[in-house]
Amino acid sequence: MNTKELEQIAKKVRVDIIKAIHAAGSGHPGGSLSAADIVTALYFDEMNIDPANPKMEGRDKFVLSKGHAGPVQYAALAERGYFPVEDMMSLRKLGSKFQGHPNMHYVPGIEMSTGSLGQGMAVCVGMALANKMDENPGRIYTLLGDGEIQEGLIWEAAMSASHYHLDNMVAIVDNNGLQIDGKNDDVMTVKPIDEKFKAFGWHVVVIDGHNFDEILAAFKEAKETKGRPTAIIAKTHKGQGVSFMADDPGWHGKAPNEEQAKQAVEELGGEW
């Protein structure tokens, strides 16, 4: 798919995110918007998947390790045709399939239930190992928060992915520089992320996480890299696409009110 088309889809994904979180009255817009381009690229270009057959043998799998960004995964799956977009507007409501954090038993296309940071990445190591054992061509992708990588478990998983030469696994870090209590740099320094992954034996690519040419090129480079896993450090902006949310930690876990949601949707070129 060309980058113009991907940009258009990412806009729709962002609109869906805003509408769903507004309807829910709670949720995490900042980290959903920062990941929208990466997740769109995965579902619409990179991954070998079939919305009509979510459990297709040999498919690629995506695990949203930073599970609080569930709305971005729901929106990408909806736009890709796994279910109607309207369905996800019940987000976070009692009885909804669209839980505050993704549940693999409720929503087609969700490969792993997440929400507790750090675990998705380590589960991916197991999935990648299984695919190696079974000579399954499916590749395993995971998206990590830059605050999430403060978890020790991330580095235990980084060590094992490298030790077992899991070149069928790709970890993307949504490097928006923010977490809940503020900037990563103020809460707990994670820099240098690229050097850390390199030291753990990973192939590392640093990109602009809002530039589709760079995102697609990084996925291609990961595929061509043999014998070790690839980490893509994607420089992003939290709240990307909505002027008043951009780079503001205050929008990590807060729903826009009607006026704000309307403005956000307009800025994104969507219809309210």
């Binding site: 829910a24 009255g25 976070r92 009692l94 839980q99 505050g100 954090h101 605050g147 978890e151 209590d181």
Partner: protein, 308 residues
């Protein structure tokens, strides 16, 4: 009735204790705005440490500070404190007897919309199996503040379970509340409801509904799960002959189990338990979830009736 989340009382208590006790250190794991440790950070930034999203490091480092002479209150959500860091708490805080207060917020179903991954019903069970660990689950803002102050004043590990949701403040400021002692809130002769945390208020409502039907229910606030006030339990079992427990926690391993362990050994009586029934939670509004998962005054009322 005035409402207040117990985590808010925690933030206030920290600031008050901090002014008297220079030795108090407060720690968090990227949730200071939610756990309310931010209140302490504002006033005493030099005695506050944010460890980032690293709960195992949080509790191991807390142990190190405590073993070097500090008294530490270390906070995150209950799921990631009792859950993620369990074995660190067991070995570096419990086994060593380190003077760490594990002040865990957002426990239970009233977490609400974040859903099952964040709703813990296992923490009281996990924590009370650790030797030397004191386990506290306050029921309102006033008692939370008093119990937190007492926990900081005593030496040794303590787990304090706090909530996200605003709950009625029913204790008077001068109420007599002591760690390790159950509070008799209402006398009664036909049945005893032993409740903890937010279920205490539900128990009081259930008791007044039962009164209308001619059932006289005794209500005890069991804010300290460990060490457990056996005396008040056995007196209640003997005098009322029936016991119902109520907690915002799994019926496996928490208050209900703790009370049953005492009752069955010393004075077996008919018992029933209200709590999360061995199932995960889900997203929803706290009140809807309490209803769906059977943790309201109505559920207590029905469990009591089932014993007659």
């Amino acid at each position: 009735m005035e409402k207040m989340a117990t985590r808010k009382a925690y933030g206030q208590a920290l600031v008050e204790i901090g002014s008297e006790n220079q030795n108090l250190v407060v720690m968090d794991a990227d949730l200071s705005g939610s756990t309310m440790t931010k209140e302490f950070k504002k006033v005493y930034p030099e005695r506050f440490f944010n460890m980032g999203i690293a709960e195992q490091d949080l509790y191991a480092a807390a142990a190190g500070l405590a073993l070097s002479g500090k008294v530490v209150c270390a906070s995150t959500f209950a799921m990631f404190a009792a859950g993620r860091a369990f074995e660190i708490i067991r070995n570096s805080i419990g086994y060593t007897g380190a003077n760490v207060k594990i002040c865990a917020t957002h426990a239970g179903i009233t977490v609400g919309e974040d859903g099952a991954s964040h709703q813990t019903f296992e923490d009281l069970a996990l924590m009370r199996t650790i030797p030397k660990m004191t386990v506290v689950n306050p029921s309102d803002g006033v008692s939370a503040k008093k119990l937190i102050k007492q926990a900081v004043a005593m030496d040794g590990p303590c787990y304090i379970r706090l909530g996200r949701a605003e709950v009625p403040v029913f204790y008077e400021e001068d109420a007599d509340i002591s760690l390790g002692k159950g509070n008799l809130l209402k006398d009664g002769k036909d049945v005893t409801i032993i409740a903890t945390g937010i279920m205490v208020n539900e128990a009081m409502m259930a008791a007044s509904d039962l009164e209308k039907e001619g059932i006289s229910a005794r209500v005890i606030d069991m804010h300290t799960i460990k060490p457990l006030d056996e005396e008040i339990i056995l007196k209640a079992a003997k005098e009322t002959g029936k016991v119902v427990t109520a907690e915002e926690h799994s019926v496996i391993g928490g208050l209900g189990s703790a009370v049953a362990e005492v009752v069955v050994k010393n004075c077996p009586v008919k018992m029933a338990m209200v709590g999360q029934m061995d199932t995960f939670g889900e997203s929803g509004k706290p009140d809807q979830l309490k209803e769906k998962y059977g943790m309201t005054s109505k559920d207590i009322y029905e469990k009591v009736k089932s014993l007659f």
